[in-house]
Symmetry: C2
Subunit: 332 residues, 2 copies
């Protein structure tokens, strides 16, 4: 798609003989770069390479047509959900998920995977002994124990005021922003706590009723509208950066909460590995557009005020989940 | 699930001998009815029956396992998008969609159906001659030409201030609310215009570049996070109230914008009919929870402040798209 830079409308000369009043000209719209163009124009140093220890490779059994299915997840950066992320690395290194399955697909909510027998103490697969036990307090990060000093705006967290001004969600009164590639929010009435937020493709830790917070062995990803009510109520540990359709287009489960009612309906997990467990030649390499880069700020602004020729009325703002952080696969 | 009405914690007596300080008791949480319980408790007169002329029955060819696939859509109430809705009734009565197909599935965006040859003038199926031609001005409704008098709050549109106070989206500065079962928004900087908003399952009219606004022959539904940037840029004509998974779990198209690259990938539409075209015995009957009922207000509040035992921290608000209007199928 070529850039659309419309010329400024020329003022019309009024002729010297009477003519019918011309129709009101359409408002002049300056065509600035689209979100896609901003990303294409980003400079090399604005892209951050994701470490192999922050990449999860989930391989499902091939689909009905025999096509391979691979899902890639970028893990959440510390200090957010750090204990659960450590557990996920431990479980991947132990090959713990191999042979387990996608057990639940609830429309407009989540796809969930783990041990189908996890609730049955006699049949559940044993967890590694060295998993960390996390608490509800770990769902959020408070400035005094994290890497910020005086609230989000004054933080060293790549909180982007210019972007945040375009972000819209007044229940998240402590601000919205991005940290090392992930969407964050804060609520002032929760003592300036900050926490990652649920967006399409974010990966979280399944759990039972409070105060059980889950180990990280049972995971889900969001396949519908962002369930804002789950924020700070559950641990977010990453996001799907490739292969999301393999999880979002699965048949919905017909049991309560979208659980599959028969084992035959489940999709088997061949393996889950950290990229760092693969040989160097087999490691995929991904980069994300640094969320503290100038281009990311321009991209967020372009998402909030779409200038593609298709659009008539710019929204003037964007939900934090409508600004997905750009990711690209690069040659290994 | 039984109602969870926790008793108020009793104040502890201080014993007369020194003991270690007891741990701080957890905060008392009063378990009020969950959203599901509020809906179950709604009274009969709070449910509104959807007219057969407002119901679209879309039948797809059976799936790979031979199971029937039916999608039911509730059409948008006037005055919103009224011209396009009239066109859709005309097209259904003409059996226009029969034999056409789902042509596009773009992950986290839309599933779209219509004429696969619609862009090819030589092969496109002819449209009925009596379709209305709509303009971009018809995307929104202004108070002076609609059924409101002095802004949303003072309208007769079942705008619900108590609900709106819990709704969160500060880019929609003219307020948020519901009208006859549909989510609406307004923007003050757009002359108090009001318009339906894109949420998961909402149905809209595909179009080309402005000023083409589409006829209603090409339709889509939202299968991901609400694309807020499409609001007031495209006509919304209804929402899927049953069978959404038949559209959301289809394989994603691999062409640009998620279009299928080969005809074999498309799902064929057996028929699209108004319920009123079916015999009385075959007409499905649906009701929605009236959006101006007391129970809907309680439901919206419960969605904004989840009290189910699973939740620890209520969000204190809800995105308008996280308050799906409850619908039920009732015996014909």
């Amino acid at each position: 798609m070529a850039a659309m830079l419309a010329s400024v409308a020329m003022a019309q000369q009024v002729p010297s003989v009477p003519v019918p009043t011309p129709p009101t000209p359409p408002p002049t719209i300056t065509r600035l770069p689209s979100p896609t163009q901003v990303v294409e124009n980003a400079r090399a140093h604005e892209w951050s390479t994701i470490a192999p220890t922050d990449l999860i490779i989930m391989t499902l059994t091939p689909d009905a047509q025999g096509r391979a299915r691979q899902v890639v997840i970028q893990l959440m950066p510390a200090p957010f959900s750090a204990g659960w992320v450590a557990n996920i690395r431990t479980l991947a290194r132990a090959h713990w998920w191999d042979g387990l399955a996608v057990v639940r697909v609830q429309d407009n909510y989540v796809t969930q995977w783990g041990d189908p027998d996890g609730e049955d103490a006699a049949r559940a697969r044993a967890l590694p002994a060295n998993l960390r036990v996390m608490t509800e307090a770990d769902y959020t990060v408070r400035p005094q124990r994290a890497i910020v000093s005086d609230g989000p705006e004054a933080s060293g967290m790549a909180w982007i005021p210019d972007v945040a001004n375009n972000l819209s969600n007044d229940i998240l009164t402590g601000g919205l922003g991005f940290y090392e590639g992930f969407p964050l929010a804060g609520r002032r009435d929760h003592h300036a706590e900050m926490f990652p937020v649920h967006c399409y493709g974010m990966v979280g830790v399944g759990r039972g009723l409070s105060p059980d917070t889950g180990s990280g062995a049972e995971l889900y990803t969001v396949i519908g509208h962002a369930p804002r009510h789950l924020d700070a109520n559950i641990a977010l540990v990453g996001r799907v950066i490739e292969g999301m359709a393999h999880l979002s287009s699965l048949p919905r489960g017909t049991g309560p909460l979208g659980f599959y009612e028969t084992p035959a309906e489940r999709t088997t997990i061949t393996s889950i590995r950290l990229a760092s467990q693969l040989s160097a030649a087999d490691q995929p390499r991904f980069q994300y557009l640094s969320t503290d880069s100038q281009s990311f700020g321009l991209y967020a602004d372009a998402r909030a005020n779409r200038r593609d020729p298709f659009f008539i009325r710019p929204a003037g703002g964007a939900d934090v989940c409508n600004i997905p952080v750009p990711v690209r696969r690069v040659p290994s």
